[in-house]
């Protein structure tokens, strides 16, 4: 079941989905240059990112 408040109301859900539809970006296939890069299904564990003071 949806837990997001936006998804509990059918009308709001429809609006949310419509808003998500960025169909203008038709070219979402992986760019050809990526095809030569190995896909890593199980990379090493990720470090956790941390809040940091803003760089002056």
């Amino acid at each position: 079941m949806p837990t997001d408040p936006d998804l509990e109301d059918p009308e709001r859900l429809a609006a949310v989905i419509a808003d998500d539809d960025d169909s203008y970006d038709a070219d979402d296939e992986l760019s050809p240059e990526f095809l030569e890069i190995e896909v890593v299904e199980n990379p090493p564990p990720d470090e956790d990112n941390i809040p940091e003071k803003v760089v002056p």
């Binding site: 760019s31 890069i37 890593v40 470090e47 956790d48 803003v54």
Partner: protein, 169 residues
Amino acid sequence: MPSISGLNKTQRIKCRDRVVAAAYLALYNKSRVHYTRGSSRWQGIARKLNARKGQYPRYADCSAFATWCLWNGLHLGFGKSDTVNRHNWRGGFTGTMLASGKRVHNLTYVQRGDVAIYGRGRPGSHCAIVVGRRRSDGKIMCVSHGSERGPFLVPLHYRRDLMQVRRFI
């Protein structure tokens, strides 16, 4: 509905192109892109490193890397302010990303340049930049820089703790 960035359709496509090109450049030069959680993680933006000129950060963590990619598209491409972390392109992490942009609720509509945020609740612990769909199976692919051996090209669901995908373009 207006976009988060205020860019029009054509501009958004060009912006996404630049974001993906930045991610690709770093991925292609992965041996020179190190992982750090220190202040040098923001050097990509602080030093105004332009992927179009072949420039990329030597140090970054996951959120600084994703932000640098988006900065290439939004700021270098169109002079846009920081819609990613709302820190004037000077900082941020998954917590500030979760407070900015908008959530893509339906993963069917995930687009290039969106950011996948992982973790077991706020403020999140990791993020990766979406770069496209794999032709063979339609899987959404991301570039993730979460360790010294990265960045890696990974499927969106390479971790089990995907919290949400957010859009900043």
